[in-house]
């Protein structure tokens, strides 16, 4: 048994935000309350007591967008290293993407990911399967059977489904499963050869721009298709005002649409991109300052449902190239929560309650995962968080195999200091 005393517990599902004690037994939450008297815990067996005064206790975070790179790109990351990175960042459940080599578009690979995740035994790993075979955007995958094997949704993430009819069919067919189609909105023709957001910052760097419409145009299409089909749509990594307009319209119409935003799109803008640091190269690219403002507002008011990292590891060799030649993507599992805390929660741009709702409750609900709450009876996936713990982000400390984060070298304040999965301590700082 574990008795966590005097923690500041935040659990939006129960409407809790205040100092509480939490007791766990056999990997589950047993009690949550104020000043639990010791006699209620008699004969519960051996009891470990942790004084949590001045610390937050959160439900383990749920990251709906992670690239674990296994199978095929284990030089960047694998399920074991990605799981270690997750729990180090306070993430106890994660959804991983299908754009591996080979693509996770068949039953055997879905099962492989699920099995490797269990073997590793750290964060809970839930795969998305590809929506179309080989991510080619031409033929649907066997969604029903993929779901039986453990897929919690379907996505061609990494590229947009260019053919509107295929997207429409995916939204229709996925109804069999009840799982969302996760859309990476990117019109390939509009995106062209761009490497950062089109605008003054890109023009000044002489870098080809990706217009905001490359995302918004497809987001609007997919929202309308979700409305027409009644399908279940989740928009990955939204980053433009145009997308937000489409999202608001779709939600106002009552359609089954959710959306996520990545922390880096809330913290950094195109003006922050250094010409010689490709760790700032990400897709969708870092937004304009105006888009960043709008994204923050949309997260706060619930238009954007959830936070997700889009953790996208790449090797040093791949990133140590001129900006235009380096691959898109940044790592985030280990830095997302500290960066959100440092740049958003601490300055008052995001409430701690909304943080937990957006980064634990909502993704768990949307993908039907047993996670995201500290309600008695739930699995004891928990994060003890010290809001004053400072650490400088360094490649040496990373559990991830890659260190392509724009926060490298920055000192962040507010870190998870203990992470439990099913009552087991899986990480301690």
């Amino acid at each position: 048994m574990l008795w966590l005393k005097n923690a500041y517990v935040v659990d939006p599902i129960q409407g809790v935000s205040g100092v509480r004690d939490v007791v766990t037994r056999d990997g589950r939450i047993l009690l949550l309350g104020r000043n639990i008297p010791a006699d209620r815990l008699a004969d519960g067996g051996e009891m470990e007591v942790v004084d949590c005064t001045g610390k937050y206790l959160f439900p383990g975070f749920v990251d709906a967008h992670v690239h674990l790179r296994e199978p095929g790109q284990e030089n960047k990351e694998d399920i074991a290293s990605g799981s270690r990175a997750a729990v180090r960042g306070g993430v106890t459940s994660l959804i991983c993407m299908a754009n591996t080599e080979p693509v996770i578009d068949n039953q055997a690979l879905v099962e492989l990911v699920v099995r490797r995740g269990r073997q590793t035994g750290l964060a809970r790993i839930y795969p998305l399967a590809a929506a179309t075979k080989g991510l080619r955007g031409e033929e649907l995958t066997e969604m029903a059977e993929l779901q039986e094997c453990g897929a919690v949704g379907f996505s061609d993430d990494g590229r947009g489904i260019q053919n509107g009819e295929i997207m429409r069919l995916a939204l229709e067919y996925a109804k069999i499963t009840g799982c969302p189609i996760v859309s990476h909105c990117e019109d390939a023709a509009l995106a062209g050869q761009g490497v950062m957001r089109r605008g003054r910052a890109a023009a000044a760097r002489g870098l080809a721009g990706i217009p905001a419409t490359a995302e918004s145009v497809m987001a609007a299409r997919d929202v309308l298709l979700a409305g027409e089909t009644g399908g279940r749509l989740h928009l990955a990594h939204v980053s433009t005002r145009g997308t937000l307009a489409a999202l608001r319209a779709g939600k106002a119409a009552g359609w089954d649409i959710t959306a996520e935003v990545n922390p880096h799109h809330l913290i950094l803008t195109d003006e922050d991109v250094p010409l010689t640091n490709s760790s700032f190269k990400v897709n969708p690219p870092l937004p304009s300052a105006e888009d960043r403002e709008s994204l923050l507002k949309a997260l706060a008011d619930g238009t954007i449902d959830m936070l997700a990292t889009d953790h996208a590891p790449h090797t040093w060799e791949e990133k140590a190239r001129p900006f235009a030649e380096a691959p898109f993507g940044m790592t985030a599992l280990e830095t997302a929560l500290p960066a959100i805390w440092t740049y958003l929660v601490r300055p008052g741009l995001l409430s701690v309650e909304r943080l937990v709702e957006a980064f634990a409750r909502r993704p768990a609900e949307r993908f039907a995962l047993r996670a995201g709450t500290l309600r008695p009876g739930a699995a004891a996936d928990m994060v003890l968080f010290d809001p004053d713990y400072e650490e400088t982000v360094s490649a040496e400390r990373m559990a991830s195999k890659s260190a392509n984060t724009p926060f490298l070298g920055r000192t962040l304040r507010g870190f998870p200091i203990k992470t439990w999965v099913e009552g087991r301590l899986v990480f301690e700082r």
């Binding site: 089109r198 605008g199 080809a208 010409l275 001129p322 235009a324």
Partner: protein
């Protein structure tokens, strides 16, 4: 003033005084070029390498000539014959050059920031000979030098840069450098090649070449890459030429000491008509000569004495 920089990567970081120092140094260098024996001992024993990832004979030759006149040894690495085609990274290639005790690398690369990337990772000096669409500082310096030579000063002059602004590192570097020296720059081109975000340069953007010609002292015509038409950026060479080509008629509307510039190589009959290119007011050939002088000045400042009095 003395020169203190290790590299020349773009003009954005230079002060107006630093730009003038380069231009003043180039005046002395041009005098050397006019001598019957074009050779100085100044940089004897120094090694300059050119590393060109994009085809260019003119710019590379200009740099090599400049380095040789100053007495430096030169070597060139062209992509097709080097281990670059075997997949060696830019950083490893550069480290190899550094290990050969090269003092200065002149790099041209299709990717913006490649010279900056080298400069950050190497202790030797780096000159940017053109990086993607980003910057071409030596071209801008030689253009400014050529106008200054003609007029004495560029301050208060109206200079039109005409053509494919979007893809042009020459336009960017000229707008930056000329603005610092007090000139009025107007970027002119069709909207598809002149997106609104180019206003980051703090200069005016215009679609109407004819209207802007009024009161202009210089027109700088940019080379039109013919593949832009295939990408749909403009409908036809015919219409492009009609709207943005430099004809004799347009040339006649320049101010009294107006000049024509072009970074070369020119597309006769596309962005510039032959008669205009060969007109007395064309500085196109002078630009080539001045290119050597300006590059001599830069090489000298970067790996020579660091002062302007070179040809004492």
């Amino acid at each position: 003033m003395n020169w203190r920089r290790k590299d020349l990567l773009d003009l954005e970081v230079l002060s107006a005084d630093e730009i003038r120092l380069v231009l003043d140094t180039a005046v002395s260098m041009k005098e050397v070029l006019a001598r019957p024996v074009k050779k100085l001992p100044t940089l004897r024993g120094k090694a300059v390498s050119t590393l060109f990832y994009e085809p260019s004979t003119r710019t590379r030759l200009s740099f090599e000539t400049a380095a040789k006149i100053l007495g430096a040894d030169t070597a060139s690495l062209a992509v097709a014959q080097s281990s670059v085609s075997k997949g060696e990274s830019l950083l490893d290639t550069a480290k190899t050059l550094a290990a050969m005790q090269v003092d200065l690398v002149v790099i041209r690369h299709a990717s913006a920031g490649a010279p900056h990337f080298l400069a950050e990772n190497l202790s030797l000096s780096v000159i940017n000979a053109g990086d993607g669409q980003h910057a071409h500082p030596t071209q801008a310096l030689l253009d400014i030098f050529s106008m200054r030579e003609k007029w004495g000063d560029v301050a208060g002059r109206k200079i039109l840069v005409v053509g494919d602004i979007l893809h042009s590192r020459v336009a960017r570097s000229n707008a930056v450098g000329l603005s610092k020296l007090g000139a009025e720059v107007v970027l002119v081109g069709p909207p598809t090649l002149l997106p609104p975000e180019m206003d980051y340069l703090g200069v005016r953007l215009a679609y109407d070449f004819d209207r802007e010609l009024k009161g202009a002292d210089a027109v700088m015509m940019l080379r039109l890459q013919l593949e832009r038409q295939r990408s749909g950026l403009f409908p036809s060479l015919r219409e492009y030429n009609r709207l943005y080509g430099l004809t004799q008629e347009r040339l006649a509307r320049l101010g009294p000491d107006g000049v024509v510039l072009h970074p070369g190589p020119i597309n006769r009959g596309v962005e510039i008509m032959s008669a205009a290119a060969d007109d007395a007011r064309s500085l196109i050939e002078t630009q080539v000569t001045n290119g050597v002088a300006v590059r001599m000045a830069l090489i000298y400042l970067l790996i020579g004495g660091g002062t302007a009095d070179v040809v004492a």
